[in-house]
Subunit: 98 residues, 2 copies
Amino acid sequence: MIDFDKLDKTIHEKGRLSIMTMLASRGEWKFQELRDQLKMSDGNLITHLRCLQKVGYVSTEKELKGRKVTKYLLTRSGKKAFKGYLRLLEQIVEQGSS
Amino acid sequence: MIDFDKLDKTIHEKGRLSIMTMLASRGEWKFQELRDQLKMSDGNLITHLRCLQKVGYVSTEKELKGRKVTKYLLTRSGKKAFKGYLRLLEQIVEQGSS
DNA sequence: GGTTTAACTTTGTATCACAAAGTTATAAAA
DNA sequence: TTTTATAACTTTGTGATACAAAGTTAAACC
């Protein structure tokens, strides 16, 4: 029996799941890129990013030269948590297709 | 790019996801079995089941003889929807491990 | 008839996704 | 050097909903 208590709610929420998936698939994303790709409002996106930062899954890099640009990336802990989350998804897929 | 808009919110919620996974892995489950396995309160479980019934993913069978027992199972539409959901999970897993 | 049991309903609360509007700071234009 | 534009961020409000707890109903067994 799959242990659904282990399902990380921070990652599981649709908006943050999409963010995490993007960050996992490529090193860095600008705020703008995330917003445009995911078609989220500024407020919604930044709230989710803040939430992911607060639990330590995401960090930022600021470009100091040129226009103000913020890049977001997964932390080591974020990568680990996402891996764990994916492992649970795999279990669900496996059990669901049996 | 994965289309997260397609992610079925009815299924995605943790509680209902666990229910759907159980129903997908075995034909029928009694209310009691679901409640005990998933450690949900009566009220919470039935609310999720009602929600799944309302969108047509789950149906019930009542035993008419003996003690009152209700069994829950996936409808054809529920199986189809769950399959679609799993396909999206597979995409996430794939993209996440690239 | 009374008790137990399974399923179900109702009610209340706390959380949270999301949008919209407002704020700040910097860079380019004028 | 004032103005305008832009990117990131904050604040506020609202609606939705997960969940628990307590109450209700109906059938079966004593």
